[in-house]
């Protein structure tokens, strides 16, 4: 009798679980719970430390290759890292190889530079979208103006003060790649390893475990994984953003999944051994 009742649990319409999950994720958005985000993972700390040690005035190349489909995870990462670069008075160059990211890049640079009184052309520059990333990365090793002779607005890139003294990777202090694609692999293989330029990555939670070998080998200097990585970097930069505010929802969502997995397993054990 009990067995039959318990078996009904596995026939539950999954739409009830969707609804429960939606409620669990929505509650903290309406009323933030303020659950703490106390752990800073080693790879995020390494990313922060590396960027923090780059001397002021150095040129950091950001490759922002994500579109709206991965925005909630990667956009807060990009914002936190660009804030850190501006805070450290680094020169920032932005490239992209994903057509869908151009609007998101514009959104970042409409807001973030103003917070640090940074001026376009003097402190940062945004280059246009380019197809065929591997060819572009290879060309940039000899002369980046062979590809990026103009910035996004069509101005001569060589004449911009932010680009003074920058010709190729040798003149750059760091490459930061934030992507939901395999583009980070390309930056490590075609640029980091080949031209000995440090590379830091920001990836989705799904791809994060796959980059363990590159981190262990030092081919990546640090890695931010998913919204958790963004939240950790935000707390290191001390400017809470969307990553931090999402932690409440993530925690509740994870608790729900843990509860469902535990309940299902307990019920299965009861059915099997009763």
């Amino acid at each position: 009798m009990l067995k039959e009742k318990l078996q009904k649990f596995f026939k539950i319409d999954r739409r009830w679980i969707f609804l429960l999950l939606a409620v669990m994720l929505f509650i903290p958005i309406m009323k933030p719970l303020g659950l703490p985000n106390k752990t800073i993972s080693r790879d995020v700390q390494h990313s922060f430390d590396f960027m923090d040690k780059v001397p002021a005035g150095s040129f950091v190349l950001f490759s922002l290759d994500y579109d709206p489909s991965t925005r909630p995870e990667l956009h807060p990462q990009a914002i936190a890292m660009i804030r850190h670069a501006f805070k450290k008075n680094l020169r920032v160059g932005v490239v992209t190889y994903i057509a869908g990211s151009t609007g998101l890049i514009a959104e970042i640079f409409e807001k973030v530079p103003k917070e640090y009184s940074k001026v376009y052309g003097k402190d940062y520059v945004v280059f246009p979208y380019m197809a065929n990333p591997v060819a572009v990365m290879t060309q940039m090793a000899s002369d980046m103006y062979g590809i990026y002779n103009k910035d996004e607005a069509g101005a001569d890139a060589r004449s911009l003060p932010v680009m003074q003294g920058i010709k190729n990777y040798k003149d750059m202090a760091l490459v930061v790649e934030i992507t939901g694609t395999a583009m980070l692999d390309y930056w490590v293989a075609y640029v980091g390893d080949k031209y000995h330029i440090p590379v830091i990555g920001g990836v989705t939670g799904i791809s994060q475990p796959g980059y363990g070998p590159y981190l262990q080998r030092g081919q990546l200097k640090g890695l931010l994984g998913g919204m958790k990585g963004a939240a950790e970097y935000e707390s290191l930069v001390k400017v809470p953003g969307k990553g931090t505010s999402g932690i409440d929802s993530l925690n509740l969502g994870h608790l729900l999944v843990l509860a469902l997995i535990s309940i299902s397993n307990i019920i299965l054990l009861i059915i099997k051994y009763l």
Partner: protein, 258 residues
């Protein structure tokens, strides 16, 4: 000409971002999100419309960005400056399009040959160095530096090397997995399972993050500033499903997300 200039000025003015346009954008974004989520309850025409719109808008965006960021500055402008060398890659690129015309599709081989040769030349040495030699060295090197390592680091180095060997045994199919071989390959399976478990955990977190992102936007669009877009659209969808259920009582249920 004057008429054209006037029309262009009017068009530009029409698309200047005003609060009204922001509200319209919020309604569109909230609507499309809710339409797509509605599939979790039941398949419906709103979901299909949103799905097709997503594909169309995505392709349209890609086309215009490619046109203005690649084709115009990299092909059109150099040609206007009489830089004829650009014709070589352009023609190779155009040759790929002959795939659509069976009679002359053989021309596309020239483009593909170039792509294959160029791609292989770039990828093979780099792949060997980054993903093969470097990783072997990363697995073995720590074992040669034990004098400067803590006991925990030594344990980690052995664990990594042991895991790599066991997993490689699992993927070695030329010897039958029996006896000791089977034991080693079984341990390899456990290492793989740990990796898959970590990857799955991260996948759950990633999916929740994406869901949080959409919910956060829906909450933003539920304010009076956006004329309660989220609430109105959710109520509209509920009413649609109620009416649909009323009129299809006893009929065949449409495909549900079950």
């Amino acid at each position: 000409m004057d008429l054209l200039t006037h029309f262009w000025t009017w068009l530009c003015g029409f698309f200047v971002i005003t609060p009204a346009w922001m509200t319209a954008g919020a309604w569109l974004a909230a609507g499309l999100t809710i339409f797509l989520f509605s599939f979790l309850y039941k398949d419906n025409p709103f979901f299909k419309a949103a799905e097709h719109l997503y594909l169309g808008a995505g392709m349209g965006w890609l086309l215009q960005v490619s046109f203005y960021s690649v084709l115009v500055p990299k092909v059109w402008e150099p040609l206007m400056k009489h830089e004829w060398l650009v014709l070589v890659p352009s023609l190779l690129g155009l040759s790929l399009l002959t795939q659509f015309i069976p009679k002359i599709s053989w021309i596309s081989r020239y483009g593909f040959t170039f792509l294959m040769g160029y791609g292989a030349g770039l990828a093979i040495p780099v792949g060997l160095s980054t993903d093969f030699i470097s990783q072997i060295s990363g697995t073995v090197q720590p074992l040669s530096m034990m004098a400067s390592m803590t006991p925990w680091m030594i344990f980690n180095a052995f664990l990594v090397a042991f895991g790599v060997i066991c997993v490689l045994f699992y993927f070695f199919f030329s010897v039958e997995h029996k006896g000791h071989m089977q034991k080693v390959s079984n341990i390899g399976i456990y290492f793989l399972m740990i990796y898959f478990g970590a990857a799955f955990g991260n996948t759950v977190m990633a999916r929740f993050s994406l869901l949080y992102g959409r919910f956060d936007q829906l909450y933003t669009f539920s304010s009076s500033k956006y004329l309660y877009a989220t609430q109105f659209i959710v109520i509209g969808m509920v009413v649609y499903f109620a009416i649909h259920a009323f009129f299809t009582r006893g009929g065949k249920e449409p495909e549900a997300a079950r």
